[in-house]
């Protein structure tokens, strides 16, 4: 049984890579992948701690999160494709019609 702190450390690393990717990278597809990485970091926590305590709640939760991640990617890719057809780019810096 690996130490639970180790699990937390790894999941935090995964999560940080995801957050950093979303904030730094400018390609819409990479941002999408990094957002998925964040979900998977959470999944790792859920599964590890559910296994640790011997219950199934967290494992079922993680399974459903995977399904949800797939739905999210489907919608994200559809929007990215629509944008690419229109503008021929998926770099978020060049998407600046609306000014915040």
């Amino acid at each position: 049984m690996p130490s639970m702190n180790l699990v937390l450390l790894i999941s935090f690393l995964l999560f940080s890579i995801g957050v950093a990717g979303v904030l730094i990278r400018r390609n819409a597809l990479i941002i999408l992948m990094c957002a998925e990485l964040m979900l998977n970091a959470a999944n790792l926590n859920l599964i590890a701690f559910a296994r640790h305590s011997g219950t199934v709640t967290g494992q079922a939760f993680a399974l459903m999160v995977m399904g949800l991640a797939a739905a999210e990617v489907a919608i994200g890719l559809a929007i990215v494709v629509a944008l690419y057809r229109k503008k021929n780019t998926i770099t978020v810096d060049e998407i600046n019609l609306l000014k915040g």
Partner: protein
């Protein structure tokens, strides 16, 4: 087969709690297929009637549901659930009415438009009754995913797609943060439960000696929710998404998802994280204060009416967060519900005017409202009532809901925040009155043809306007009514 039998038994026992949202899901699915084969995809009129009927039916079913809890305490029907479900249904109906002129510009794909609205509302109805972090997360996502598509719905218009992409990327980011927060709380509670009531006890014991996991988890859940209700500093998506989205969807986004997310906000933080209030009250106060200040100040320099309403809705969310801060959950939920109800009435009226003007190729910029009083006195008067009520000018309905919220905040000891709220309300009066002034005291630019209002529009306008004016006389009684409805 004891397992299958017990599963069947609990399903037949618990399913009635979900009849309202399930009805919507089934109706929307049937609309997409096989409904489109029989009626035709582009028969806008029929689909709008079908969708409205489905919404009304689901609303009636949801209101008649017996209170109780089911699905291993994952879903709960009580006064709060019913009250906020009512708001979401109402917002959906208003959106469908407002969608008519805009959809006439579209050539295809109208079944999906209505079906997505129904799916998203079923997600909201589930969200406000969710009492487990699992059900909270998934119903939140069901709601959000449908709204992403609706924002990008005009896929031939660059603005709409851009707004959709921005909203989607930030939304996916925030849902990642929310889920990670949930997983940290799950870990801190020993990896056994995600139920809000059970978590509350476990977290309170764990965090009594300062647990970093609990603190980080609660903060991340807070950030996730702040993204969904567009509280500063997590509001960046909201002005862009509001401006780029089709205008009826802008109206929808400013009403329904906000109402649902605030309902869930109250429930999750009031019942689930009540025992660890010290961890989140301060950060949430900062979010509320920053929303009031930035929302109102940024609205001052907006040229576009949709952006102005976007920033002002950030400010309104700041006020409503005062209700979430309240340690008396029931009173907080009531004040928020009342505020949201009046906000819905005023906002729908204002958007009806904008959409009507937009149909004639204007209405986006504040300058388009110049001299409206000369061209269309009745419309200008209605718009003035909506704007003054949004600003919270005393005799109107908007004042009373603000009054109850601020009174509650003072009773709960958030004096500094309430003073801030009052000061920023004064700032808000400036930009609302600015529009009123340009309607009444400026010359119209050029000659613009008059087009009659459609019946449905007149209906929305008259009803909202009448409600605000009538509410003026019944203001003090309003809270008693809400107490009865929300307390159930």
């Amino acid at each position: 087969m004891p397992f299958a039998q017990s599963l069947l038994g609990s399903l037949t026992r618990d399913l009635p709690f979900l009849y309202g949202p399930l009805f919507l899901i089934v109706a929307a699915t049937l609309m997409i297929w096989p409904g489109d084969v029989f009626v035709g995809r582009n028969n806008k009129r029929v689909w709008s009637y079908v969708a409205s009927l489905a919404l009304v039916a689901a609303g009636v079913i949801a209101m008649l549901t017996e209170p109780g809890a089911g699905f291993s305490n994952m879903f709960r029907v009580d006064g709060l659930t019913k009250g906020f479900q009512f708001l979401c249904i109402l917002a959906g109906l208003i959106t469908i009415v407002l969608s008519q002129p805009q959809l006439n510009a579209l050539r295809e794909q109208t079944v999906e438009y209505y079906a997505l609205i129904l799916f998203s509302i079923s997600g909201m109805m589930l969200l406000v009754g969710a009492t487990d972090l699992v059900s909270v997360y998934f119903s939140l996502e069901l709601m959000a995913l449908c709204v992403y598509i609706l924002v990008a719905y005009l896929r031939t218009q660059e603005r709409s797609i851009e707004a959709g992409l921005k909203y989607f990327l930030l939304g996916a980011f925030s849902s990642g943060i929310l889920l990670y927060g949930i997983s940290l709380l799950f870990a801190a509670a020993g990896g056994t439960t995600t139920n809000l009531a059970e978590l509350n006890e476990k977290l309170a014991t764990v965090s009594s000696n300062g647990n970093l996991l609990v603190f980080a988890g609660v903060l991340m859940v807070l950030v996730g929710f702040a993204f969904k209700v567009a509280g500063v500093p997590f509001h960046m998506w909201s002005p862009d998404a509001y401006e780029g989205a089709p205008t009826p969807i802008t109206a929808f986004m400013s009403m329904a998802p906000k109402a649902a997310a605030l309902g869930a906000f109250v429930r999750v933080f009031g019942t689930g994280f009540h025992g660890i209030a010290t961890d989140w009250v301060l950060p949430l106060s900062f979010i509320a204060g920053a929303s009031m200040v930035l929302g109102n100040v940024a609205a001052l320099r907006q040229q576009s009416m949709k952006r102005l309403l976007a920033y002002s809705s950030i400010a309104h969310v700041g006020y409503m967060l005062l209700g979430v801060l309240s340690s008396d959950v029931q009173a907080g939920a009531q004040a928020i519900w009342l505020y949201m109800l009046t906000y819905l009435v005023m906002q729908s009226g204002a958007f009806a005017v904008i959409i009507y003007l937009q149909g004639k190729g204007e209405g986006e910029r504040i300058d388009d409202f110049r001299g409206l009083a000369k061209r269309q006195p009745v419309l200008a008067f209605a718009m003035m009532v909506f704007l003054l009520s949004l600003a919270g000018i005393p005799p109107l309905l908007g004042f009373f809901s603000k009054f109850y919220l601020f009174k509650l905040a003072i009773e709960q000891g958030f004096v500094t925040l309430t003073v801030l709220a009052l000061l920023t309300s004064a700032v808000a009066a400036y930009y609302y009155l600015n529009v009123v002034a340009s309607m009444y005291f400026k010359e119209p630019v050029g000659e613009i043809e008059r087009k009659p209002l459609s019946t449905a529009f007149t209906f929305v306008l008259t009803v909202s306007c009448a409600l605000i004016l009538i509410g003026t006389f019944f203001g003090p009684k309003l809270l008693d009514w809400t107490a009865k409805i929300v307390l159930g």
